[in-house]
Structure formats: structure tokens, C-alpha cells
Amino acid sequence: MGQVNRRAVLLGGVAAGGAVALSTALPSWASTKTFLAAPAIRDPFQLGVASGDPLPDSVVLWTRLAPAPLNNDGFGGMPDASYTVDWEMANDEAFGSVVQSGSTTTNRALGYSVHVEPKGLEPARVYFYRFKTSGYISPVGRTRTTPALGAAVNQLKYAMASCQHWEEGWYHAHRAIAADNPDLVLFLGDYMYEKPSGQAAEFKVRGLAAAADTTTLALYRARHAQHKTDVDLQAAHAVAPWAVVFDDHEVMNNWNSTTSPASAARKGYAFQAFYENTPIRSTAKPSGSSINIYRQLNWGNLARFHLMDTRQYRSAQATDKDCVGYRNTSRTLTGTAQEQWVLNAFNTKPATWDFLGQQVFFAQRDTDGKSATCDSSNDSWDGYSASRDRITKGWVDRNIPNPIVLTGDVHRHWAADLRQNYYDHNAPIVGSELVTTSVTSNSNGSTPPSATWYANNPHVKYCQGMRGYVRVTTTPAQMRADFVTVSSVLERDPAKVTIKTDRSYVVQAGQRGLQQV
């Protein structure tokens, strides 16, 4: 802009030039800094509230300021300034009994995200929380702390979900999760997708505001924001604390520890946006192209969750169906440090149930059932079978009482028992796996496995190609998994959608193997 001319006009007119603005003649509140402190905004609570990663004395509270959430610069319509955000937690939804409150700030470097980690809460308690900034008050969220370590617990009810491509359906599963009133929600990856849907138009119900692949921090931020505009997803976040791990599409399809297919820069953008948009602890703040998200979550003496990262440290995928690569003992899905971390955890037994929350199919799925061919996916644990063997042997050798693997990724419900040698159909069962279908992804369904396939994989008990989620009810005596299906994610009207339990399995404490209910 041509400042000189304009200043000349001004100097001859009503006021002095720019330098005068810095003079002490002006009141301090009129400085540029004051002006930048907090320009007025519209209601910034367009993305709801969330909580996560509960402890006996703490839980992460989350929101993100975004009065214009779909803006493709990723800043959600926020002026370039620092905003003070007040928060409070109460015993009651009306906030008549506030137990803690505080204040934090957010800014452009944080994508206007807010993470609060209050301390000193009481264990096994329900709390309500909300935020306030610039005269606006957020929706109210409900959360809870975990029971104290070792405390006796009668029951834990949690939901597990994964894979929610924005375009491929309505989030009825989240509406149902909210209605279930769970204690905890596990999200096992593919919260967002880095690219537009490849489905035909009739299998898409809505579109991306910025359809380009997310190759910049701005686009990752905007993509996360668009997902969080969904009212059903907001409801599921507001009902209970979540524990979230990513899979591949939060970064890009089938990425691994190398810089192909995802560059270090792209990982860095994706991790930053993931952190900003996830109710996760500050220990997961990314540093460049690395982020630390594997962690444990304990639920008294009843359950322990090992939330794993099966993307960031994995060896590059082997050539498809290459048995030599699949079985190479130097290859890893977890990375050495994470493997040692989980094996060390198996040295202690603080809880009846051990849940390994992770992303990709753990049990073997070998189409022809012949060990010579490795007729299975190179992206799942089948493609890293030595890594799987080490983890499985770890819990077997250490006598982990009740190991259950929890999985997302594959857009179908599956239930399977686990063995140390899947080709030996008489080998002992050493655990079980629950795989949740997608919330929306691949909404046109898929064909079920054939009888021959099941005969080649007799440890696999169930497969269902509909959309949905899994509800797990855990007691000291048993774990029950309800595989919930949604009749259609292409139909928006809830009145025209049937949500039901398609199949249930239990595992009895101290016994191995799924039993159909």
C-alpha cells in the first residue's frame, strides 16, 4: 500500500503520522498491543467441548475457539491475538457446586486450542465442565475421573469406535454412544481422513469444505475442525472422557516410520493438528515430526488399557504377501522402545483385565490358511508377525490374566481368539480380539468371508460389514462386547435408522476364548 501519500493526507488533516501513535500522549489502553489483545469475536464454541485421558485426580478438558470453523486458513475465524479462556468444573450440571476454576490463554500457535489439566480431583467422580471467553460460555461437558489405583470397581462400560470419513455418512454411531452414557470412549484411529472419499456419489452424504489433500498445517486444522462441527460427534465428546489414538489417515494412508509416503514435515503438521484437536495430555505435545501418544490408562483394579501407537515407529511395510519380509524378526510394528514399554507393563498385574487399544488387525487373517503363502495384509500385524509374536509371548510368559486386544482400521466388526500359532488350529487360545467397524467409512458395505475362509481361520468367530461401534461392559467376572450396527449411515433422519446390537460375546475372567451370547 502506498503509505506515503496517505500519510501526507493525514498530516495535513485531522491527525499526526504513525510515529505519534507511540508517544506517551496516548493513554496506555489505546496502544496497538491493547488493540491486538482481544478483538471482538462471534461465539467461538462451534466445535463443542471434550475431555480425555482421565486419572484418579485429573482429566484433560478441551475446546478450540473457532467462530468460523471451516475457514481454510485453519484459524477458525479467530483474529491474530491471544485470548484468555476461563474454565470451571462442578459437581452438578447447573454449576451450583463449583470445585475448581481457572484461566488459560490460547493463540494462533496453538490453533486456538485449549487444553486444561486440573489436578486434585477426587477419584471415581463425575464432573461437569465448561469454558468462557470474550463473553461467550461454551456448552457443558460431563466427564469423570478414574477409580484410585487398586480400588475395587464393580463395572466399567466403554465404547470403542474408529474410522469416520466425513463424506461417507452421518455419525449415528456417535449419537448412540452418547445415549449409552458410557464411562469412557476409546477412539482407535482414523478420526479424520487426509483425502477426499473415493466412493461413488451415492455413497457420500456431505463434502469437505477444503477438498485438497491435507498437506499443510492449515489444511489439517481445517479438516479436524470440519469433523468437530458434527453435532453427534460433539454429543459423544460431551458425554464422557475419551482416550484417542491415531492410525494412518490422521497423517496419510499407510504411513510408517520412514519418510515415505509421509515426509517429516507432513507428519509434523499432522501431529500438531492432532494434538490441538484431541483431549490429550501435554505429554503428547509434538516435537517436530515426533509425538508421544502411547500410554496406559488404569481403571482401579478392574481394567488397564495399553493405548498403543502402531504407526509412528513401524518398519516400512513389506512387499504384499512376501513371507520373508512379513516374518523378518528385525522388523517391528511397535518400535523397540514401545515394545519394551508394554512388555515391562506385563510384569505387573494391577487389574483383572488388560486391554491393548491399538489400530490394526492383530489376529492372523490368512485367506488360504497356508503358511507358505502369507496370503494376508502387509499393513496389519500379519505383515509384522515377529513383532506380534514378541508381544503375545510377552503376555503369555508373564501370565497376564485376561488379555484383550482392541482394534479399528478395517471397517468391519470382527471378533477373534488369539493364538501363538494360527496355522495350528488346536493351539491354545491365549487371548481375544475385538475389532470395531467404522463409524462411516466405506459405507457401501462389503461381502462377508466365505465358509472356506472361516475354515482356514477358525479362530475368527464373527464378521459384520455394517457401520457401528462396540460397547464393552466389564465386571470382575466377565467382559461383554456388544457389536452395535447402524442400519444406514446414508440416511440422515434418526427416525429412519435402526441401531441395534447385532452380536454379543463374553469372555469369562480367568478363562480364554470368546463365548457367543
Binding site: 502506498g2 499526526a16 496516548l26 489505546a30 475465524g77 470474550s134 469444505a209
Partner: protein, 244 residues
């Protein structure tokens, strides 16, 4: 920067006409959140109005040309339709500013455009004495209306009217293609398309149905809609505005 500009800014950003969600502002729930003195003021204001819109006071400027009238464009581009002119020396009320095509005027060269609702469009900031070389108004999308062109030579124009929340799609080019506006709503729905396939020089109006106070994100594209496999071309970057 001038004293006049500082006063303008204090007026624009420092005033406190907005208030909180009325549901959250009742009784003791609010007071707990606020410093004691402010709490009284906020509670009082909540009783008076349910206004959730930020300070709407516009900035003012004065049109300066060599003497000729200045074009008012429908969208912030020199290839956008000139909807009228405004006289040299006229005072204008600027609701918001945005980046568009570069223009050299008597006050300098700039990509900044000023939205003047009273004139129904945008004027280049290079022709407006605003008392500042910096921005003197928020980014466009302030709830008083806005417009975008498709990229390139503005073959399609889309206008969002905050009053009533309607979109108008203009086709400006005899290129055999349709003009379209796609919009997304707070409920997670979108894109909803409004197409104009009536030919160059025409327009189509549609109501978004978005509730008052809520946001609408829209972008403007052209498309060969009659083709076997239609493509969307020249889509604008998109803009969020609000229903008044």
C-alpha cells in the same frame, strides 16, 4: 497510524455490545465465571438484550479519486461487476475488509478492499482515506453480507446477504458453463449447491435456511454441469459469514 485511527479501533473492538449465550448467563452460573464488578454489568446487559453479535460499529472512510466517480464492485475484484459508482469525496461506512485484486489509487497500491453495505459492494482501499495504512475493520464475514468471485476472471459471482441468509449466484461469462455457490452450515451439512444455469447476465437467488446468528461457509465455482463427468472449476477459497 493516527489518533483518529486509534479512536476508530477503540470504538470498533473495545466496545462491549456483545453478550454471552443467554442460557449460560442466568443467575449464579455466570457470576462464578466473572470478576465481581463485570459480573454485575454482564448480568444486567443479559437482561436487556440477547444480542450475540460482536460490535457492529463500522469504520468510516472518505472516497478520494482524481475527480471521477469510483466503481463499486459486487465482489473484491476488478473483474467483478461494477454495480454502481460512488462520488469523489463521499463518506463511506466500511463494515469489513478483505484481500482482492491489486489496485493502484491515489493513496497507493493495495490488495485491500473495503466492503460498504450501503453501496452494495466493495471499493478498493487505494481510493479511500481511512486514516490508517493498516486495516481499520475486521476481515469480511461480519454478518452484514459479503461476496466472492470464482478465481480467474470472475465468471461467477456469489453474494451472501446476511439479512435473511440468502445467496445470489451471478453468471458473468458466456463460457457455456454454470455458476454455482456451495455452502456449508453449522449443523454439519454441506455442500448445498445453488446453481445458475440460465446463462450470462442472469442470477439465481436461494435461501440457505440457516438460523439467525449462525455461520454459513460458502465458495463460488463454475462447472460444466451438462458434461458426462462434470468438474468444479475456479472455486474461490471460501468465506464464512453470518445470518443476521
Amino acid at each position: 497510524m493516527s489518533e483518529a485511527a486509534v479512536i476508530l479501533r477503540a470504538h470498533l473492538y473495545g466496545s462491549c455490545t456483545r453478550s454471552a449465550d443467554p442460557v449460560g448467563m442466568t443467575g449464579s452460573r455466570t457470576r462464578r465465571f466473572l470478576p465481581k464488578v463485570i459480573a454485575v454489568l454482564m448480568t444486567a446487559s443479559a437482561l436487556l438484550v440477547l444480542d450475540v453479535v460482536p460490535a457492529a460499529a463500522a469504520a468510516t472512510g472518505k472516497v478520494q479519486t482524481a475527480g471521477d466517480p469510483l466503481n463499486v464492485r459486487r465482489a473484491p475484484s476488478t473483474t467483478s461487476t461494477a454495480v454502481r459508482t460512488v462520488a469523489n469525496g463521499a463518506s463511506v461506512s466500511i463494515d469489513c475488509q478483505t484481500i482482492g485484486t491489486s489496485v493502484t489509487g491515489p493513496l497507493g497500491t493495495t490488495t485491500l478492499w473495503d466492503y460498504v453495505p450501503a453501496l452494495g459492494g466493495y471499493i478498493s482501499d487505494g481510493y479511500v482515506q481511512t486514516g490508517s495504512d493498516e486495516r481499520i475493520a475486521p476481515d469480511c464475514g461480519v454478518g452484514s453480507g459479503s461476496a466472492e468471485c470464482s478465481t480467474g476472471a470472475c465468471a461467477a459471482e456469489g453474494v451472501f446477504k446476511s439479512a435473511g441468509g440468502s445467496v445470489t449466484v451471478y453468471d458473468n461469462a458466456g463460457d457455456g458453463k454454470s455458476a454455482g455457490v456451495a455452502y456449508w452450515l453449522k449443523s454439519g451439512v454441506g455442500p448445498i449447491w445453488v446453481w445458475n444455469s440460465k446463462g450470462t447476465g442472469t442470477n439465481v437467488v436461494a435461501n440457505t435456511g440457516a438460523p439467525k446468528g449462525t455461520w454459513v461457509f460458502y465458495k463460488v465455482c463454475v462447472s460444466d454441469r451438462g458434461a458426462t463427468v462434470p468438474t468444479l472449476d475456479n472455486c474461490s477459497g471460501g468465506l464464512t459469514d453470518y445470518v443476521a
